[in-house]
Amino acid sequence: MKGFPSIALVVAVLAAVPLFVHSNVVLNFLVVALMIALAGQGWNILGGYGGQYSFGHAAFFGTGAYVTGILQVRYGVNAWFAFGCGIAAGAVVGAVIGWLAFRAGLRGSYFALVTLAFAEVLRILASVAPITGAGVGTLIKLNVHASAMQFQSRAVFYWVILTLVAVALVVTYLVERSRFGAWLVAVRENEDAAKALGVDTIAVKLGAMIISGTITAAAGCFYAQYFLFVDSGIAYGTWISIEALLTPIIGGAGTVFGPLLGALVVKALGEGALYITGEAPGLDLVVFGVVLVLVIGFSPRGLVGVAARLRGKFKRGSVAARPAGEIGHG
């Protein structure tokens, strides 16, 4: 089963979880995991498919979070509309950073460093600018009402973030199947060869950056609505840049389900480690590190790659295993 049916099945299974699980702890865990998955889905478009490794996706996450918060708190904008504006702001930031970085021809580690620098500059600006609340941060007023996009039940928040993740899954799948996606992968694999085949590499990378920024910004918007508080260290902190790139790499960069799988596994392991050791601080980060080393060492295509290989072993002799991420070819 491939493509839309598999996306529909995964989303349906996840959507049914709150019907059986009523624990707020578990739901809260899943909401955060899906939020990280969404941030990772954004990174995956640019980094996984396009091979442009950003270390600064906090720039998009934070912009989404701040725009959602500030528009409501300072300008009295409706929460849903503010949410949409936050997502759009992510696209704009993606366009600006992408235009500057790709026009300058930055690749590889230079691109990674520049994206990191942009996120850090935004973090420092946000920590002093009056409009963001500077060091105090932006606190969204509690107003539990659907019109304010605040819900009594964790389950509703869960379905909201799941909807966003589902949209990102569909977008990723459509990108993968499109000409744009083919060109994007070509840029990842060999930029000069892509140019020779008529690919406008700057335009393709810029397009990927905009889609990527949009998706990751949506995760930031959700953060603001869920926790009702944003400050510079949360919004533009390196933690989210790292989680946004770890989850797709561990799950399977350049695959439709990689970021979702990676986020669920990594978050579960992290929480499990904290639980077993009685909340030893920083242990979840150690777990991230160990998982990352194991995945890169044994399956560069991530957990999705492991799954594909296992499936190949069971079906040996029939069709040769298709490369991971090539959902629905042929």
């Binding site: 083919a182 992968v185 070509a186 000069d192 060869a193 892509a194 020779a196 085949l197 008529g198 090539e326």
Partner: protein
């Protein structure tokens, strides 16, 4: 005579103190195979890079299909119908052969199914139909050369620039691929090829330009060029032509 499809006019390219290409003029006539030969380091690949837009010339002009295309970026030249292969093959290593060719096919076919169909047709033409689902990095050298050709062909070019597609192949592999190139010419594609394999140049090319130390030192039919003393000297060193001549006299 009609205007050639490609006309390189007084093109120079300097790298710092090195004049890699020095006021070179050459032409490729429509529907013909033109070869560019010359010793290593003569500037052939640099000239190709200028023609295909990867390098901007320091001076001179490139005219293609009646338009001045000097300094246009590669992707735009590709859309005009200029396709190139790379001397050091540049496959999309992580992708299958099918997906490699599909990237090229997408230029003229936005829809995925059309691009895949076009990619398969090209694969059949160059003899890659059996390995469509193999990852590109598992191909043999000969397979990679064919893939390089297939990717370029998938853009449906009018002018094909082949940079040593035969280098590194054994004689039987060369015998296999020469008819493929000839068939491309026969269906109307103009070809400009850099080649070291003289046997292939002799059998394929109608017109040959010889580049040495950045300058065109001779041009003509393959037979004329091969007999040209300046060409012999360029390949074998100063005085070689005279020594060969002397040996013939004995």
């Amino acid at each position: 005579m009609a205007e050639p499809l490609l006309a390189v006019q007084n093109v120079s390219r300097r790298f710092g103190g090195l004049l890699a290409v020095d006021a070179v003029s050459l032409a490729a006539n429509e529907g013909r195979i033109t070869a560019l030969i010359g010793p290593n380091g003569a500037g052939k690949t640099t000239l190709f890079s200028v023609i295909s837009g990867f390098l901007k010339p320091t001076g001179g002009a490139v005219r293609y299909d009646g338009a001045d295309v000097t300094g246009e970026p590669p992707h735009r030249l590709a859309r005009r119908g200029i396709a190139r292969t790379f001397q050091i093959v540049q496959p999309f290593a992580g992708l299958t052969v099918r997906d490699n060719i599909k990237v090229g096919a997408h230029m003229r076919h936005p829809a995925r199914d059309d691009a895949l169909a076009a990619a398969e047709a090209v694969a059949r033409e160059v003899g890659l139909a059996d390995v469509l689902d193999r990852p590109a990095d598992t191909l043999t050298v000969a397979g990679r050369k064919r893939l390089e050709l297939a990717k370029a062909l998938a853009t449906e070019p009018k002018l094909l620039l082949l940079d040593e597609v035969l280098a590194g192949l054994n004689p039987s592999e060369i015998r296999d691929i020469v008819p493929v190139i000839r068939a491309l010419r026969d269906r109307g594609i103009t070809i400009l090829m850099i080649e070291h394999v003289m046997q292939a140049v002799m059998s394929l090319a109608e017109h040959v330009f010889v580049l040495a130390e950045g300058r065109i030192i001779a041009e003509g039919t393959p037979a004329e060029v091969a007999a040209d003393p300046a060409v012999i000297e360029a390949y074998l060193g100063h005085g070689a032509a005279a020594r060969l001549e002397a040996r013939h006299d004995h």
